[in-house]
């Protein structure tokens, strides 16, 4: 069975540009969460979506937005990129009712570099 997939694997952008990251959850999973992981730190929660509705939002500026599609895949959008947005962006999916007691399955991440 395929795990969580993310695309692209790597991305290089310049300051001020916009980026879209994509995530496909494990088949049957309806919850998708996004995290930002800066080198040497733990993942930081950005958003959770369940059944296409936003369930949770971390302390990130409005430049960050996300959505979930009817097939439960998800996109994370970041506008007006800053150097500090350079990080590994992780997506996690889970089954059940979208509770964090459900096992979170993480994808391999998208490495974003902002120059």
């Amino acid at each position: 069975d395929a795990g969580v997939t993310q695309s692209p694997t790597h991305l290089i952008k310049t300051r001020g540009q916009h980026v879209t990251l994509r995530c496909s959850p494990i088949s049957g999973h309806k919850s998708v969460s996004w995290y930002q992981q800066v080198l040497g730190q733990g993942p930081q929660f950005i958003f959770q979506y369940y059944e296409k509705e936003e369930r949770g939002r971390g302390n990130f500026p409005d430049r960050f937005s996300a959505r979930q599609f009817p097939n439960y895949s998800s996109e994370l959008n970041v506008n007006a990129l800053l150097l500090g947005d350079s990080a590994l962006y992780l997506c996690a999916s889970s089954g059940g009712q979208g509770s964090f007691t459900d096992t979170q399955y993480f994808g391999p991440g998208t490495r974003l570099t902002v120059l």
Binding site: G42, F45, N59, T101, Q104
Partner: protein, 114 residues
């Protein structure tokens, strides 16, 4: 606000010994706490979840304890192997005004030497 602290210094141990990693949190006690393993360049992998009414939980060579009085969880790997070398993250669920969120500590890097 809730803070999660893990020892940022790497833990170096000899193969066969028991590794013990610490996760401390401030403020309120969460209903449950999770531990993950992360290898370089990869996403975290879920290992164990322990609830507030469980003092200890085991899975093969792994053992997690949860002390809500000390506001601390300990993660033990017995009979450690070089393949156990990785970064270990603890995480707990917090609620902000926008809903629930899973919050991670900074992780502790474990190096098991043969």
């Amino acid at each position: 606000s809730q803070k999660i602290e893990q020892n940022s210094e790497a833990l170096n141990i000899q193969e066969g010994k028991t590794a013990t990693l610490t996760c401390n949190y401030t403020n309120y006690s969460p209903a449950y706490l999770q531990w993950y393993r992360q290898d370089p360049g990869r996403g975290p992998v879920f290992l164990l979840l322990i609830r507030e009414n469980e003092k200890e939980k085991r899975k093969e060579r792994l053992k997690v304890t949860f002390d809500t009085t000390l506001k601390q969880s300990l993660f033990h790997i017995t009979a450690s192997q070089p393949a156990d070398s990785a970064t270990y993250l603890c995480a707990l669920t917090m609620n902000n005004n926008a809903g629930n969120m899973l919050t991670f500590g900074g992780g502790t890097r474990l190096m098991v030497k043969p």
